[in-house]
């Protein structure tokens, strides 16, 4: 029997050519959290963020929700951005919020690559996808 299970689902939308909007959900036997955030594509800066705690373990946990606003202005392109997010959002707020933000950050380039590849395929269905992605740069 499974004794612990965690799922993370990260979705990315492009409301316009300058912004990527992430929705991240983390559900496991213990915690249930959600993050919505908007990031500027050109420099990776977090422009807007909100979080929701559905399941948590202590009465203090929801105090971490306002701490999320300290992520605004931080860039997913900065050197050591993951450590900064874990320190500022994770340690001072909630580690699980930080985990979702970091996973959204890990999806930043893959989402851009995926968007660009699908747009390129619309123009050229016979495109060499492997080669296209090898040549792709942010």
């Amino acid at each position: 029997m499974i004794s612990f299970n965690r799922s993370q689902i990260i979705g990315a939308e492009f409301p316009d050519s300058e912004i990527i909007r992430f929705n991240g959900i983390q559900e496991d036997h213990i915690y249930g959290m959600e993050i919505n955030m908007e990031v500027r594509i050109k420099d990776g800066e977090i422009l807007k963020i909100e979080g929701n705690m559905k399941r948590y373990t202590t009465p203090v946990c929801p105090n971490a929700i306002p701490i999320l606003q300290t992520a605004v202005g931080k860039s997913l392109r900065d050197e050591g951005w993951e450590s900064k997010i874990m320190k500022e959002i994770g340690r001072k707020g909630c580690e699980h919020f930080a985990e979702i933000i970091i996973e959204c950050g890990h999806c930043f380039d893959p989402a851009l690559r995926s968007r660009d590849l699908s747009l390129a395929l619309e123009k050229d269905p016979a495109l060499d996808q492997e080669q296209y992605l090898k040549n792709w740069s942010a």
């Binding site: 029997m1 499974i2 004794s3 612990f4 299970n5 965690r6 799922s7 993370q8 689902i9 990260i10 979705g11 990315a12 939308e13 492009f14 409301p15 909007r21 496991d28 036997h29 213990i30 373990t57 202590t58 203090v60 946990c61 105090n63 971490a64 701490i67 994770g90 340690r91 001072k92 707020g93 909630c94 580690e95 996973e103 890990h106 999806c107 893959p110 989402a111 690559r113 995926s114 968007r115 590849l117 699908s118 996808q129 492997e130 992605l133």
Partner: protein, 163 residues
């Protein structure tokens, strides 16, 4: 609005009859499919076996992932793991996906042990009893102290503790 990109990740811990834990970590998104399986021996939490399979459009280090992951065999889950994993599986010749997979698998093993204690605390309705329960957890798991807002020095759960 239609999503342009979607990533699904699952990590599962399953106790086996021989007393080991099998951890299955899987990722699928528009560009990548990855599976990492580890077997962890208790009580020292040594990673006995590790296997990896990556598919679709391979990321950095993806071609050698199934060989690279073997470097993690024999490592114990515990203090300093982040640095050890980064050293063995990361870097310019490494594979960042494997680093993430191993760290998240190790975290899932820790949460496998955390879950029963939290189940017990759910049956506590008296706030004083609940606080004492959390304080016992902090005393027996000092790594939790100052790990998040609930366990910072100014948290009501830390009142009276000198940790």
């Amino acid at each position: 609005m239609i999503q342009r990109f979607l990533r699904n990740k699952v990590v599962e811990v399953e106790p086996r009859p021989d007393g080991t834990l099998e951890v299955s970590w899987r990722l699928t998104d528009d560009l990548l499919k990855a599976e990492v399986r580890t077997v962890v021996q208790l009580p020292d939490m040594e990673i006995l076996e590790a296997d990896a399979k990556l598919d679709r459009f391979l990321p950095q280090g993806g071609e050698v992932a199934s060989e690279l992951i073997k470097k993690i065999e024999g490592i114990n889950i515990g203090g300093g793991l982040r640095k050890i994993v980064a050293g063995l599986l990361g870097g310019p010749d490494g594979c960042p996906i494997l680093v993430t997979a191993i760290l998240e698998s190790a975290n899932a093993v820790i949460l496998h042990f955390t879950r029963p204690g939290l189940h017990l605390s759910e049956s506590m309705t008296d706030p004083t009893e609940l606080k004492e329960g959390f304080q016992f957890m902090l005393q027996t798991n000092p790594r939790l102290v100052r790990s998040c807002i609930a366990f910072q020095d100014d948290s009501p759960l830390m009142e009276g503790l000198n940790l």
